[in-house]
């Protein structure tokens, strides 16, 4: 049981990473990663929904008729998302304003659906829940790295605090830092993700060539 848990963790975080290897959850990767804080909130939201949806689907897996499998899965997933959205609106309205535009993107996030189909529908609740959490974290860490760079180059800020502008000014540039608008807009997201995959694949190939893995 312990080995299996470790496998789940390693798989979801790197070897079978939802974003860089399975190429899932791309819509949100592009939309959310221009600001680090929004990415963090999105990652937390997604992890929560994936974990608990996996739990419910796993508990119900033996009584769901096969033909309507997907309908039941989307029902469970979307219910959780809307419950999270309403609860945030009531108790944490500021965070809800940040997450608001992304509610639809969480419901249709292929990662959640993918994990339900690939894992939760065929495994016991414990591992399913863990897989849900780890998939969420696997997604989140990749996005946070991309978001850090996009926010830094796109806005010159880290977590909303201006960093590059004061730096450039202190180095003598009178105009300060000029934003890379390209990084804030979607094409920047495409290229950042492509770079990430390039690096990730190169590292994997390197490891393979040198006998590790």
């Amino acid at each position: 049981m312990a080995t299996k848990a470790i496998d789940i963790v390693k798989d979801d975080l790197w070897k079978n990473n939802p974003v860089t290897v399975q190429i899932l959850g791309i819509c949100s990767t592009l939309a959310v990663t221009n600001i680090f804080m929004n990415t963090l909130i999105m990652g937390l939201g997604l992890t929560f929904v994936t974990a608990f949806s996996a739990l419910v689907i796993s508990l119900l897996r033996n009584i769901i008729p096969p033909r309507i499998r997907m309908m039941v899965q989307v029902l469970v997933i979307s219910s959780f998302v809307v419950i999270v959205d309403i609860s945030l609106k009531a108790y944490m309205p500021d965070i809800s304003k940040a997450l608001g535009p992304y509610v639809g993107l969480i419901i249709t996030n292929c990662i959640i659906m993918g994990r339900m189909e690939a894992f939760a529908a065929n495994n016991t609740p414990g591992p399913a829940f863990l897989d849900g959490i780890m998939s969420g974290i696997g997604y989140s860490w990749v996005l946070l790295v991309i978001a850090f760079i996009r926010e830094l180059l796109g806005f010159g800020t880290i977590l909303g605090m201006p960093v590059l502008d004061p730096l450039m000014r202190s180095l003598g540039a009178s105009e300060g830092w000029v934003q890379w608008a390209f990084m804030i807009m979607a094409p920047g997201g495409f290229f950042m993700l492509a770079s990430f995959i390039w690096i990730a694949n190169s590292i994997s190939a390197h490891k393979l060539a040198h006998g590790k893995h």
Binding site: N34, I35, D94
Partner: protein
């Protein structure tokens, strides 16, 4: 056939369970959400009126700050609103209605306008809602103009669903700051130039009054939506206020 029936039964059951839980969550948080929305709207109104929490100076805060970041407490919001803002309903007479052609206002008999007073009870300005269209969805704002109807005191957004990091930056204080002291006298003439958007502004409109505000790079559609909304709705409300100036002067002369 039995299989199909069981399948439909299962689907119906599970749908009922989940929708019931959702309905329960929705009902139990309805009043809280309504309260949050009310406070949010009042915060926007106060921001547009250039009223800040006790001891807070807008120019000293972070430029990326939004209205909900201001350190208000709910009692202060309600107290200030009651003390400084009064709602008044203005009739839309045929003379005024003529000028409002094409606006949704021309379909109604009256419109509600907020009157802003200073501490001594003199009229500082008038506030009203604006509606427009952004890139992703509707734009809603609240605008306050000065008592002489020639400059803007401020503006805040009550509704927007624009791209976070791009269009959504219209809610940031650096963008809204340009609406303070903005010249709107062009909107009194049918062919007058309204508010325009420029790439870069060196000075704020309080330092050097112009009719331009600064655009957001990469958010052209949203910015166009904002400017179109301001120009269209301001034209109508200014006409409404001009047409009812006598009523307003009578009602609020010598009010304490």
């Amino acid at each position: 056939m039995k299989k199909a029936f069981l399948t439909v039964l299962f689907m119906t059951l599970i749908t009922v369970v989940f929708i019931a839980s959702l309905a329960w969550v929705n009902e139990s948080s309805r009043s809280r959400i309504a309260q949050n929305d009310k406070i949010f709207r009042l915060q926007s109104v106060l921001y547009a009126c250039n009223l800040m929490p006790e001891g807070v100076d807008e120019t000293l805060l972070s430029p990326a700050m939004t209205t909900s970041d201001l350190p208000w407490n709910n009692e202060a919001i309600l107290h200030l609103t009651r003390q400084r803002i009064v709602s008044v309903t203005l009739p839309i007479t045929p003379v005024v209605r003529d000028k409002l052609k094409g606006s949704m206002l021309s379909l109604t008999d009256s419109a509600e306008v907020q009157v802003l007073f200073d501490e001594a009870g003199a009229v500082l300005g008038y506030g009203f809602p604006l509606r427009g269209k952004g890139l992703w969805g509707a734009l809603g704002a609240f605008a306050v103009v000065s008592a002489d109807l020639n400059t803007m005191i401020g503006l805040d957004f009550t509704e927007q669903s624009e791209t976070p990091g791009l269009g959504a930056r219209i809610t940031e204080s650096w963008f809204k700051y340009f609406f303070r002291g903005l010249k709107i006298d062009g909107l009194h003439r049918p062919d007058g130039e309204g508010v325009v958007m420029v790439n870069r502004k060196i000075q704020s409109n309080l330092e050097s009054p112009t009719n331009s505000v600064q655009a957001i790079t990469g958010a052209t559609q949203t910015c166009n939506g904002v400017v179109n909304m301001v120009n269209a709705d301001l034209r109508f409300y200014l006409a409404l206020l001009r047409g009812n100036m006598s009523i307003l002067n009578d009602q609020f002369k010598g009010v304490n």
